[in-house]
Symmetry: C2
Subunit: 499 residues, 2 copies
């Protein structure tokens, strides 16, 4: 059938879309989501059909096409094109079968993830995949297949070393920049650690946001490879490289219903690790009220699943279940956290001891479990402490910062928000709870992570005795307006419970 082209001035950046007037589609028995092959001369493209209800959008006899399709078939406004119905991707039938309770093979998973990455499936179709995986569950074979499919459809960082260590924290704990201390310790110990981290999604800072205070984190895969070759490790932003890109598309359709499917969580994490050629993976699962995992049995179950998945993927896994009941470190927000990290690495008097202790615990767990081959004996906590306190870890950090492109040389030069507010204890007593969710929320309202200097600095932790009027924490914001937002939020809840 012949249609005239209408140039619709919009780009989705995802699936190719062609728009027909609803009446034309009705006549042709075409439906939303059908695949159309659009041909002009010897060029053709396949697009997903969408319908325009009104003739304002797309007139009858016209086919609405976006820039991307127009380019591919060298068409423009008013060109005549031929359209025909194309078979739908086979992955759709596979998704249907999963919805019906059938198990997906590795080939099935490759087909589905391949089509997701190559924009061949619509959001509705991806939603069915997520719903099916969530309700029917994915067994371990399926999670393995999903993980491998995610790795193979993205960029892969090839690292010619052994062991290659990566680390992941399940998250939900404010502050907690453990990664930025653990990586330098492990690099100082001789491990290769090509760490890619995320920016904040709902927290006041992600590791990439905090590292960015100190140096550039926006590295290409080639730049990561060079940095890692040179200094043995890096802490870069994963979003700048195309590791396991299926994940983002799946998360987009999970978000509206806050779907949190275990199989997809496992695959998502391990795919990022596989994408940087990790041979050893350190997983930190913080447990406690306000953390992402609130119950110990759930944490242990997750640990077991990670161990199983690691075995099937041929990776060594070390899982550390840690205390996630309150913020770790004193600073919350990119600049304040970066200063804490540097203070720990510099053995500064103001270094938060909880962050130092946790980092040593986590790093030493890897060292004890998988010692380097040239070591004469296993090393643990004391060796990690020695690397940190001798300044070796700081040296490793400085090498990484310089190789990535330094921003700030010393913690004293890190800029903090100029508008500040001290929040004081309303009564005498003991701090019984510091709520991760509330503290994070205040820091975000104050401007973190977008304003690097915004956030919270805690002077006390759970268990401390305080007197009425003692400063509990300081809020930092870029300007007084943002500080006012935080003040407003404080009226509801300040996050610190004194009894």
């Amino acid at each position: 059938m012949k249609f005239k082209v209408q140039d619709v001035d919009i780009e989705t950046g995802g699936t190719l879309v062609a728009i027909l007037n609803k009446h034309d589609a009705l006549m042709l028995d075409f439906h939303t989501g059908d695949r159309l092959r659009i041909t002009k001369g010897n060029k053709s493209a396949v697009a997903v059909l969408d319908l325009a209800e009104s003739s304002k959008a797309v007139k009858r006899g016209y086919l609405g096409l976006m820039e991307e399709v127009l380019k591919r078939i060298s068409a423009k406004q008013g060109s005549t094109v031929n359209i025909s119905l194309e078979e739908k991707p086979k992955s759709i039938a596979l998704i249907k079968s999963k919805l019906d309770g059938r198990k997906l093979s590795a080939d099935d998973m490759d087909a589905i993830i391949g089509d997701i990455v190559h924009n061949k499936l619509t959001e509705v179709e991806i939603t069915y995949f997520v719903a099916a995986s969530y309700v029917r569950g994915l067994d371990m074979d399926e999670v393995v297949a999903l993980t491998k499919a995610m790795i193979n459809t993205g960029q892969i960082l090839k690292v010619d070393r052994y062991p290659v260590v990566d680390k992941h924290c399940i998250g939900g704990v404010a502050g907690n920049r453990t990664t930025m201390v653990v990586v330098p310790i492990l690099v100082a110990a001789g491990y290769c650690v090509p760490k890619t981290s995320s920016r904040s999604i709902t927290s006041p800072s992600g590791t990439a946001d905090t590292m960015e205070v100190l140096c550039n984190v926006d590295l290409s895969i080639e730049q990561i490879r060079k940095v890692v070759d040179k200094v043995g490790g890096c802490i870069a932003w994963g979003g700048a490289v195309n590791l396991a890109p299926a994940d983002d598309k799946i998360i987009t359709v999970e978000h509206p219903l806050s779907i949190d499917a275990e199989g997809q969580l496992l695959a998502s994490i391990m795919a990022k690790k596989g994408s940087v050629s990790a041979t050893h993976v350190l997983i930190d699962i913080p447990v406690g009220k306000g953390a992402k995992i609130e119950r110990m049995d759930k944490a242990k179950h997750l640990r077991d699943e990670f161990m199983k998945l690691g075995r099937k993927l041929g990776m060594k896994i070390v899982v550390v279940i840690t205390d996630g009941s309150q913020p770790i470190g004193n600073g919350i927000g990119p600049a304040l956290e970066a200063r804490d990290v540097m203070w720990v690495l510099m053995n500064h008097k103001d270094a938060p001891q909880d962050l130092k202790h946790k980092a040593l615990l986590v790093a030493s767990e890897m060292m004890r479990s998988y010692p380097l081959s040239h070591w004469k004996s296993r090393h643990g906590y004391h060796y990690a402490k020695q690397l940190l306190e001798s300044g070796k870890a700081l040296e490793a950090m400085e090498r990484m910062i310089n190789a990535q492109g330094a921003h700030v040389a010393s913690p004293e030069k890190i800029k903090l928000g100029k508008s500040r507010l001290d929040v004081k204890a309303g009564k005498d007593g003991r701090i019984v709870h510091i709520d991760n969710v509330s503290i994070s929320r205040i820091a975000r309202v104050a401007g973190a992570p977008f304003d690097k200097g915004a956030g919270i600095y805690l002077y006390h932790h759970v268990g401390d005795k305080v007197a009425k009027g003692d400063v509990l924490f300081t809020i930092y914001a870029e300007n007084s307006q943002k500080l006012d937002y935080a003040k407003d939020y404080l009226k509801q809840y300040d996050g610190v419970v004194i009894e």
Copy 2:
């Protein structure tokens, strides 16, 4: 937060959409599917957020809005608007709970269906509802709640009569215009039958397409009421009135995966019946190879479900399980079917006896089960036959045709496609199968239902003995090109099996 308005020249006709540049959304921690309240002065609207990957679509600092939103808040290109995050509809949490296996209450179902009809849910969210209902299943209470919610969110035809009869056929059988014979018989008998029918979706003709050959079917709800008041019945196109509109939106997201959920099927059918105030419903379930329902056990199960649902809705249900193994009537395609129907009503010598017999069977089942109160005894097949053969049913049909707006007065004047091809038997033998799917496909390829005169006329049915060279059927098309399409299809399969 303040944004400048960018007028994006597209209309969806569904959910209100606002588009942000991906980078702005990332900064604000906004996600696809989030609800934004957009305010200008004292006017505001809530829209669903979509993200533009490129700044070509929506520049940073701009909010892309469509005509519909612009009108509501009196904004135009370059206006400054304020945006804030709005709570998502509560129905989303209900859909999530169904996905998690919880049962939905009547209030829950009202909330979900209300939000679907009022364009408050995105396609992704509706997809989760469909997936959840499909995988978890809907129990009878939920189907009842869904049916009622669908009825109450659409237009309702109020009919001040009793009984009000409606009829539905599960479909899949080529030809089979039983409705157009049954309705006149029942109207002649004194029942009130406000019948709304669909157009073809995948078949060569829907009842509305066939009736349209004879008269106007595009009636408003007020026109339907007038016709029914005047002549006791009608056969109109349901698509012109807004009966149970949630159904269409649900079907749109079912289509990509060909989801066929029983609960939704039951609710969808019964909601249309409830919307015309039906008190008595006649359900025809054709069973056989190539029909929608291929196995008797499935048909019986469906019958039981209809009976249960009817009881809960306070409707009397009559279910007839019929032979759906081959086409019914000789004509397939709007004009050819309309001619068959008129021939049956006129007791013409060429009237297809199978169509006549089936219509009598179906109509008499209602008459026997629920006789009219003024009848002295129950009436059945013989009374139906009498109404048909005496011309009373024809009179009723003519009254309906005239009240709706006649197109063609007599079957001789119905125009058939001018390009014709006789398809002949390739060998001597007996016809053992006529395939509904293939016959329908040939008729569609030849142009039905869009070309009213296109289709197939069958000279033989299953069981007939034929000799090599006997004409099995004639294909009608509007022009020789379309006839060629049908010829091409015939090379693969002609739909008639002789042994």
